[in-house]
Symmetry: C2
Subunit: 359 residues, 2 copies
Amino acid sequence: MTSVPMFRIPRPFDMHTHLRQGPLMRLVTRLTARHFDGAIVMPNTNPPILTGEDACRYQSDIMRSARGANASFLPLTLIKLTMETTPDIIIQAKKLGVVAAKMYPVGVTTNSADGVDLDKLRELYPTFKAMEDTGVILCIHGEVGGDVFVLDREEFFFEYLRQLHRDFPTLRIVLEHITTKAAVDLVRNLGKTVAASITLHHLFLTLNNVLCDPVGAGEFLRPHHACRPYAKRPEDRDALVRAAISGDPKFFWGTDSAPHPFDKKEADCCAAGVWTTPVALPLLVELFEKHEALERLAGFSSQFGLAFYGIKRRTRMLTMVKRAWTVPLAYDVRNGAKFVTKIVPFRAGQKISWKVARY
Amino acid sequence: MTSVPMFRIPRPFDMHTHLRQGPLMRLVTRLTARHFDGAIVMPNTNPPILTGEDACRYQSDIMRSARGANASFLPLTLIKLTMETTPDIIIQAKKLGVVAAKMYPVGVTTNSADGVDLDKLRELYPTFKAMEDTGVILCIHGEVGGDVFVLDREEFFFEYLRQLHRDFPTLRIVLEHITTKAAVDLVRNLGKTVAASITLHHLFLTLNNVLCDPVGAGEFLRPHHACRPYAKRPEDRDALVRAAISGDPKFFWGTDSAPHPFDKKEADCCAAGVWTTPVALPLLVELFEKHEALERLAGFSSQFGLAFYGIKRRTRMLTMVKRAWTVPLAYDVRNGAKFVTKIVPFRAGQKISWKVARY
């Protein structure tokens, strides 16, 4: 009898995820709740989550969907900042338990046409002030839009981050899904109220995996590796890995797992987002094992994010076991018995060495 | 009665195109022959064109397909260099009328797994010597492959171009479909036996149009804008435009028009290539008109390329008329009456202001 390596870790808390709506939400939520203790849930749905009441309704929907998989799963639903978000909306949302609001500059990603106009950022200063005063966290999609070259968009955003941090020094800010070495360096050098989330896929992909991913004897454009912000150079990816395994509490895990129906990805105009949920924790364990950093996994995958947000949770454990499995090519989305669409996970059809043994 | 602007130009000669095989070849060839006087036809078919005899057979097939559209259409079919291409193959091909051989480094684009290993370039020196001696032109896909970051692949190839030009100074070399300002500068500074082709789409696209192309209220990944080498930064695109309209005979037009069945483009693994044939000349006229360079159009679109290759052609004219038309969403490929697939042109569904009036 050979013994199979296994170990127990605190269930991760996903500090950035997309649970969508309707039948897609029900599937994605169940799969998320199996591996995660809870999640910070993005509000760029359609229609968007704009107020505390919207957020509470959305949270109830999600909890209902999660119940069968993990009754204690905690979805923290955010509100979306628009140019119409008033201080009152913030104060009211805070009363209803909303922990953070998400700022999307106009047009930078899925459903962001109603986002914030960076040229008019000062018009939102009373709102940021209310967030600072009430302790509502500012989550930022840190890219500029417009005609700026795609690979420069994150760095061009830095001036706005610096400005907000200078003008609201006690406002807690999360620069979401960072993709560059420059972002790692910036966040590390700003005050302790600024942190960053790092996705699963940005720890593995570079832009080569988007534009010329090796598959069989060829190399291909891969819509399922396309997301915002895009993965960058190998040296950027390596800087993200170093930050993730460093034990620096300014960097924590937010998968930004973002499912789209497969025919919105494999299309003439392909939607942005990588859906990593079913493979995220196993791949993260693989990565930390490879870098001999398993003892820092719990910090990155649950403790640092919760600490930054000030969320107290009873620690719930799960067991990881080293047993190879093959990622399904797709997951069917159903409405009752009726097939609706399918969604394609990251690493579809590939082998992964670790799996979650018990939920 | 208002008069519609029109003018006559020599039919262009496409110094780089893909005509494919079978039913796709028949459709694409007819459409190419309508607007072009002839074309340099790439040999990375499946099976590939490896010898003079292959090239002659392929040329006959193409001429048969072109006949109804343009009886004088001249397809010049190349042979593909592999590690097995001997000097004898070159000498024999030259006797059969082959004007050039195409070098693909291994794995850099469609059907290039049997390409040239750059680490063993010297093993092909007797072959390059035979090309230099017989006047067979060397056409190069100027990118390295492997793990090199996708946006650096063209510039990393420069050392091989410099080496070949130094060791075979009278060998005529075309650096195909250049995409960077650095390539423009290099070709301009090398000897007169080195020239470059520039595609239609690289005069219009940047990497933004691949990764975050504005469509409606959103921005999307666009497989139909994906090709090798990829379009780069705005300043690179602008340098290509300046080279094209400059009147410098070292830069000439090769569309690299590269059709794929739509379901190979809109897929999990998307094939590389932009199919521009039906819109190429109208868009080129738009561009030269915008830059007030119409008097240099004939140089770029036919004369410079033919002069570099040493091809003498009787000048055949066609008439351009400024009358807006909408590009079809797709072209059906048929085998006799039977639908086979469809192919999506560049600028599908969009308006173009110039059209070819008479063939």
